[in-house]
């Protein structure tokens, strides 16, 4: 579930009107909590890990992913909407070393599929930006029209900035035809749909990331994929089982 705005603010700052609360940023759930500013700054690694995880999934599932929650209520419980997803055209890695920040940019048709990309991961670089393409089946449009994450089928692509969890240079499908005469509303629906899809994947990632499954199953599977140790994708998929 994507929480409403009120819920977000309540979690981040239970007393938004108090001067003290404003100064401190967030108090949240008790003593010892970090300030909101500090949390924002120090949790950027989650965006990079999310991108690694997403990239890993697109490879081992050969671009066929399920968007968790898409079409909920219209499909069997636990089953999400299907989509094709892949990384394309450009990926940028960064790492911090003793000698400073190191950056590597790779571009091409599908640079994330090349050996250089996984070598960058092996050397401790993490992706900070990547171009992602998502193709939704046409049926999705009818199934979930009007829902935040589900509706129009079609091709989306965008550059994902992992450190800021943000979208840029997004291409959205051509405006829906025959669905009304409000181009703004239609454009916004598509933008929200794209954002909603990314949020649903992020939500799925976070649920795993904060669980013991991350270190027990997912982390080792990602390292195995990174190392090109010969593990067949089928085996990695079996290891992930239902937790992906």
């Amino acid at each position: 579930m994507i929480v409403g705005m009120e819920g977000v603010l309540n979690k981040l700052d239970p007393k938004p009107e108090s001067e003290e609360g404003r100064e401190a940023g967030a108090e949240g759930e008790g003593e010892g909590r970090v300030s909101l500013a500090e949390a924002i700054e120090t949790r950027k690694f989650l965006g990079r890990e999310f991108l690694v995880w997403f990239w890993f999934l697109t490879e081992i599932y050969e671009q066929k992913l399920q968007i968790p929650g898409l079409g909920e209520g219209r499909r069997a419980e636990g089953e999400g909407g299907d989509c094709d997803a892949w990384l394309e055209k450009s990926i940028v890695f960064e790492s911090l070393t003793e000698s400073g920040k190191e950056k590597a940019s790779l571009s091409g048709v599908a640079p994330s599929g090349g050996p250089e990309s996984r070598e960058a991961l092996r050397q401790g670089k993490t992706p900070v930006k990547a171009k992602i393409a998502i193709r939704l089946p046409e049926g999705g449009r009818r199934e979930a029209e009007g829902e935040r994450a589900g509706c129009a089928g079609g091709d989306f692509s965008f550059v994902f900035d992992a450190d800021h969890y943000s979208i840029s240079n997004a291409k959205i499908p051509a405006l829906l035809k025959g669905q009304g005469d409000d181009p703004f509303q239609e454009r916004m629906t598509l933008i929200e749909q794209l954002e909603g899809i990314v949020d649903l994947f992020y939500q799925q990632f976070l649920a795993i990331r904060v669980s013991s499954d991350w270190n027990r199953v997912v982390g080792p599977a990602i390292r195995s994929w990174m190392s090109d140790d010969g593990s067949p994708y089928e085996l990695l998929r079996a290891k992930l089982g239902t937790i992906r």
């Binding site: 950027k44 070393t97 969890y165």
Partner: protein, 231 residues
Amino acid sequence: MGVLKGSVTYSKLYVRGALPADVHARFLERIRARGFKPLVPEDEDDAAVGWVPIERPYDDPQEGLGLGREGESAGSARLGFDASGVFFGSYLNLGMRLDRWKFPAALIKARMAAAERELKLKTGKERISKLEKAELKEMVLKKLRRDGVPVSSFADFSWSLETGELRFFSKSKAHLEYFYELFEKTFQLRLLPSGCYVGAVAVGALPSQLEAATPTPFALRPPPSASEVSS
């Protein structure tokens, strides 16, 4: 120009605070009060920032034909701040225009050199004092402003009044700085940028869990040390 067309590149923000009861009327009044007013060469300010309608960001008040509705101030009427141009269903859509005087440093330097030569000839002085230089610079900049036009830029935003989510269609640091200030002054509400942490909380993660998380060491071998890199 992202709200209606163009590149879909935006900074996502959350609006914090309660909306007034008569939201349309109150916000229109405040938007009009901070509508864009063009720079004039005599102004001391180097920049002018204000709201403009998303569909006509460059309709300057002085360029208009004076056909605004009776009872509205001339500038705001020409800028077209009526409810139908600002409120689109449950969204508030608005543009921010930023005009700045900007001249190439080399041009300023050349004009200054010419002005200094002229002053030396006129006064017969060999050297020019710091104060005189400052006065000359002011005159040079004023002349450039009179002869030129400001550099104008525009970015628009769409704010869902229902969810509090706001998409500002620019990632420029300068745009964002001006936008935060103008938005918070106009609407008397605060903005919170989205990002990995806020985005995580927005999708249901608990702050305590996020704060307990530490980076995953993916590297299969440690990164080369500084000495290894240099050798």
